[in-house]
Amino acid sequence: MVDTPGIATKIDYEDFLKKGLKKLEAKKRAKEATKGVIEAIKWLDSMDFVIVVLDGTKDPYSQVNITIIGNLQARNIPVLIAANKVDLKKANIDVVKAAFPQYEVLGISAKYGKNIEEFYEQLFKLAK
């Protein structure tokens, strides 16, 4: 099992400064984040199945989501999409479902454990 960081197209060490980190530490964290994204992309070729965790409150049509899910689809890798943060009013799981109709989409709240049992069931079904 490989847990990768969120895939991004930009990383700014100044964002870590805003979180209260010192300059050197912020640069180190930014470097780690870039390495994480590189590794996540390299791992795409070795996966049996992938759980894509999206923020259910945000627009799912971001180019990163489309690129990564498109790559998984092109490699015929089974995918389960977990739309996180469904405890928030802003969350809209229907938009996520509409964006990726080819895959099972499950709304979860990692913070409150909502739908986690169902998430595990779907995960084991996918892994069989």
Binding site: K10, Y13, A30, V37, I38, L44, Q63
Partner: protein
């Protein structure tokens, strides 16, 4: 001032995937926004993200990327057939790819009728600061 550079598909057509991605990224690193005719393959898009991450530094913070492509579900069967034929003849020339430096482009939003490119406030001041740093280093 924001500079856009148009890249016709013919300019990248015969390049290898790595060269294509590097060519586009080099333009972006000159603080220009690339408007490319057509699109990269899914694998090349992933390569673009990977190479971007390898190049991240205090002076290059990454990219904003957006691909505008005809949405297949909005086309009727005749349009789909014509699209498939065009794809066969022309390759990935359909659509547009926009790539901008993250230090200038805040986000690119697209919806069926328009594309909105939001630039960062004070990005020209930031670019001057970066150029000064590069000159001094």
């Amino acid at each position: 001032m924001v500079t856009f550079q148009f890249v016709p598909y013919a300019e990248i057509e015969n390049l290898t995937s790595v060269k294509r991605v590097n060519k586009l990224l080099n333009i972006v690193k000159e603080d220009k926004i690339v408007i490319m005719e057509g699109r990269l393959s899914k694998e090349e898009e992933a390569d673009l993200i990977e190479i971007t991450m390898e190049e991240i530094s205090p002076w290059f913070k990454g990219i904003e990327l957006s691909v505008i492509y005809p949405e297949k579900h909005r086309l009727d069967s005749m349009q789909k057939l014509r699209g498939a034929f065009a794809h066969l003849l022309l390759g990935d020339r359909q659509g547009l790819t926009i790539i901008g430096p993250a230090s200038i482009v805040k986000k690119i939003e697209k919806n069926p009728d328009k594309i909105e490119l939001f630039t960062k406030e004070g990005s020209s001041r930031y670019r001057k600061k970066v150029r000064k740093k590069i000159r001094n280093s």
